[in-house]
Amino acid sequence: MSAITREDVAHLARLAHIRMDEQELDKMSGELAVIMDAVAAVSEVAGDDVPPTSHPIPLTNVFREDEPGEMLSQEQALAMAPEAEDGQFRVPAILEGE
C-alpha cells in the first residue's frame, strides 16, 4: 500500500507549500518509497482493541484565570517580520491580479 509516486509527492509538496523542481520530485519520491517500505509494517501490528496514544503522559485540561500576563509589544512582535507597515504584518497579494 505504500507505493508513493512522483505525482503523490508533487501533490504533497503543493499541500505543504514547498515549491519543488522536477529533479527534486524524482529524488524525493525515490527516497520516500524506501522510507515508507521500512515503516509500513506498523499498520499490521496493532488490532482494533489497542487504543492510540497521542501523548506520553496523561494530561487533563489546564486552566488559568483569564488575566493578561507578560506579552510582547507590537514593536517587538513586528521587529523581525519580513515586511511590516502601520503596525501590521504586510503580506503579498492573497488573490491573483489586481
Partner: protein
C-alpha cells in the same frame, strides 16, 4: 605553572569542581569564562576547527561572570543566595530561543533572526547567573543524527575530526567534549541529546517528558521533544537538570511536581540490590561488535557491584522506529507550517512576483534543507485523508504497545540498560545520501521518547579508539534512579581506567596558527554579530 597551563587545567575540571573553586574564591568566574572563550577561539574556528558554535557571546558572558564575581566579593546575603552553579559557563543549542543572540535552529529560514523572548530554560540560566558562552550547531530544526544537516556547515567530532559528532545536538556534545564548555543544553526528540553524548564520550540525559519546560524550544515534534542537560559527568548533568526542571505555566505539558533528588542520587554510587534489565531487543543484529563488548563489560561491572541483572523482553520495540518515523514527521509538518515568510524568518519572492501562496512556496523551498523537506512531505503524507488510519493512527497504537512493554518491564526491574547507539561515530559524509541508514542510528533511543520515560547516555569506554555510550532508561518520573545507576557505572569504570575517559581524547591543535590568511570564521557565523 604558567598562565596558559593553568587555564588549560581549569577547563578540564568538572562543572561541580569549577563551582566549588568559585565558591571558595580560588578562581573567578571571569577567569573561568575567559578560559573557555580562549579555548573556543583556539579550537572551534578554521578549516579543521570543531565548529561547535554558530554564535559566540563573549561580551554578555563576561558581563554576567563579572556580576557573579562582584556579588561574591561583596559577600552577605546576596552571595549566600547565589545558585551553586552561578558563574559556571554554559552553551545553548541553537533551537532554544535567546534574547540578544541570534537563534537559527541551523536553518537558512531563520538566518539572522533575533528572538524577542527567552526560553524558560534560558530565563533559569540567567536567574542562576550562568554565563552563556554562545549557541551551538545542530541538524536543521534538530532533524538528523550527525549535525551534517545544519545549513551552516557540519561540526567535527573532537575524537576524530573526520567523523560526525552525532546529532542533532552535535554542537553541544562536541563543545563539552572539547572543553569549550563544561555544560550545555540539548533537546531530545528521538535521541538528539543521548546519541551525540555516546559518540563524543560525554554524558547526555533526556528527562521524563515534561520534567523540563519546552517553552522557547523551536518545536519539532511536540509530544516527543524534551530539553535536557549535556555534561562530562553524571553529577554535572544531574545538577544542570535540577536547575532547568520544574513546572512552568507557559508549558501546559510540564509536570506539576518537580523531579527531585537527582544530584543526591548521582552522588550515591551504590547499586546493591538495584534491579537492572537488559533489553533483549536493543542489542544483537545491527550493533557493532566493539559496542556490544563495552556494553557487556558495563553489565558485568554493575553485577559485580551488587546489582541484580536480568534479561527482559519488550517485543514491540522492533516497531518503535517505524512508528517514530510516522509520528515525528506528522507533528513536524504541522509545527513547521508557521514558517511561511509572514511573521518572522526570511521571505523569498519569486522573480516573477506572485501571490502569498507562491511566495510561501518559494520561501519554504529556499529556507528549508533537504531533510526538513523530506520530513514535512512524509508527515503530510502520513496525515493525509485515506492514509491517516493506516499510518498515523497505527503508529499511535504502537506507541501504546511500547508503553505497555515498558510498564511490564518496570514491574520487574528498576532501570533498563542498553547500548545508546548501535555504532561508534561514523565518517563525515558516510550516510548523508542514505536517509534510512541515518534513521537507524536512533533505534535504541527512540523508544524512550515514544513512552515519555527518562534516558541517559554515559561513556562506556572506547571501541577502536572511539567512544561507546551505555544507556539507562527508567520509568516515568524515575530520573533519580536513572542518575543513580548511571553514576554507579561511571565511577566504577573510571576506577578501572584510572581516570575519566576524556583523558584519552586526542589533543586538539590550535587552528588559529594553521588557518590560511583570509579564511576567517565570518563565513561560518550564522548571522548577527560576528565572533
Amino acid at each position: 605553572m604558567n598562565a596558559t597551563t593553568e587555564s588549560t587545567e581549569l577547563i578540564r575540571l568538572t562543572a561541580l569542581q569549577m563551582a566549588e573553586k568559585l565558591r571558595t574564591g580560588e578562581i573567578t568566574s571571569v577567569e573561568l569564562t575567559q578560559a573557555h572563550l580562549d579555548r573556543i577561539a583556539a579550537v572551534d574556528g578554521g578549516e579543521r576547527g570543531i565548529h561547535a558554535f554558530l554564535h559566540v557571546n563573549p561580551e554578555e558572558a563576561l558581563a554576567v561572570a563579572a556580576e557573579v564575581d562582584a556579588i561574591r566579593a561583596a559577600g552577605g546575603a546576596e552571595a549566600e543566595a547565589l545558585h551553586p552553579l552561578a558563574g559556571v559557563p554554559v552553551a545553548v543549542k541553537d533551537n532554544i530561543v535567546t534574547i540578544g543572540q541570534p537563534t537559527t535552529a541551523g536553518s537558512r529560514m531563520l538566518e539572522g533572526w533575533m528572538s524577542p523572548y527567552d526560553a524558560t530554560v534560558v530565563t533559569k540560566l540567567r536567574r542562576a547567573r550562568l554565563p552563556i558562552l554562545g549557541k551551538t550547531n545542530l541538524d536543521e530544526f534538530a532533524m538528523g543524527g550527525s549535525t551534517e544537516h545544519s545549513a551552516f556547515g557540519n561540526t567535527r567530532n573532537p575524537w576524530d575530526l573526520d567523523r560526525i559528532p552525532g546529532g542533532s545536538g552535535g554542537g553541544s556534545a562536541a563543545a563539552v567534549a572539547a572543553f569549550m564548555a563544561p555544560l550545555a543544553l540539548g533537546s531530545d526528540t528521538g535521541g538528539s541529546i543521548r546519541q551525540p553524548g555516546a559518540v563524543t564520550g560525554t554524558v547526555g540525559a533526556k528527562p521524563t517528558y515534561g520534567g523540563v519546560s519546552r517553552y522557547g524550544v523551536i518545536a519539532m515534534a511536540s509530544s516527543l521533544d524534551q530539553i535536557g542537560p549535556v555534561a562530562r559527568t553524571v553529577q554535572d548533568a544531574a545538577a544542570l537538570q535540577e536547575l532547568l526542571g520544574g513546572h512552568d505555566a507557559k508549558d501546559s505539558t510540564s509536570l506539576t511536581e518537580p523531579l527531585e533528588g537527582l544530584l543526591t542520587a548521582a552522588r550515591q554510587h551504590d547499586v546493591t540490590g538495584l534491579r537492572i534489565g537488559i533489553v533483549s531487543e536493543l542489542r544483537g543484529e545491527g550493533y557493532q561488535e566493539g559496542v556490544l563488548e563495552r556494553f557487556r563489560e558495563a553489565v558485568t561491572i554493575l553485577q559485580d557491584a551488587g546489582a541484580e541483572v536480568v534479561e527482559v523482553s519488550c517485543p514491540h520495540l522492533k516497531y518503535a522506529l517505524g512508528a517514530y518515523y510516522l509520528i515525528m514527521p506528522s507533528e513536524a509538518s504541522s509545527n513547521l507550517a508557521k514558517f511561511d515568510g509572514v511573521r518572522y524568518g526570511n521571505r523569498v519572492v519569486p522573480d516573477e512576483g506572485g501571490t502569498i501562496e507562491q511566495v510561501m512556496g518559494a520561501t519554504r523551498a529556499a529556507g528549508f534543507g533537504e531533510e526538513v523537506k523530506r520530513r514535512i512531505i512524509l508527515g503530510t503524507y502520513a496525515l493525509s485523508a485515506g492514509y491517516y488510519d493506516a499510518y498515523y493512527g497505527s503508529a499511535q497504537k504502537i506507541r501504546t504497545l511500547v508503553q505497555r512493554d515498558f510498564d511490564e518491564a518496570f514491574s520487574k526491574v528498576d532501570v533498563l540498560i542498553s547500548p545508546t547507539s548501535p555504532t561508534t561515530a561514523f565518517g563525515l559524509g558516510e550516510k548523508i545520501d542514505d536517509p534510512l541508514a541515518m534513521y537507524l542510528n536512533d533505534v535504541a533511543t527512540i523508544p524512550a521518547n515514544l513512552a515519555g520515560i527518562p534516558g541517559i547516555s554515559v561513556p562506556g569506554g572506547l571501541a577502536e579508539g572511539l567512544p561507546v555510550g551505555v544507556q539507562f532508561l527508567a520509568p516515568v518520573r524515575g530520573d533519580a534512579v536513572m542518575y543513580r545507576a548511571a553514576a554507579a557505572l561511571e565511577s566504577r569504570l573510571e576506577q578501572a581506567w584510572g581516570a575519566q575517559l576524556w583523558t584519552q581524547a586526542p589533543d586538539l591543535d590550535d587552528t588559529r596558527s594553521t588557518q590560511p590568511a583570509g579564511v576567517g570564521t565570518a563565513d561560518r557565523t550564522a548571522g548577527g554579530e560576528n565572533r
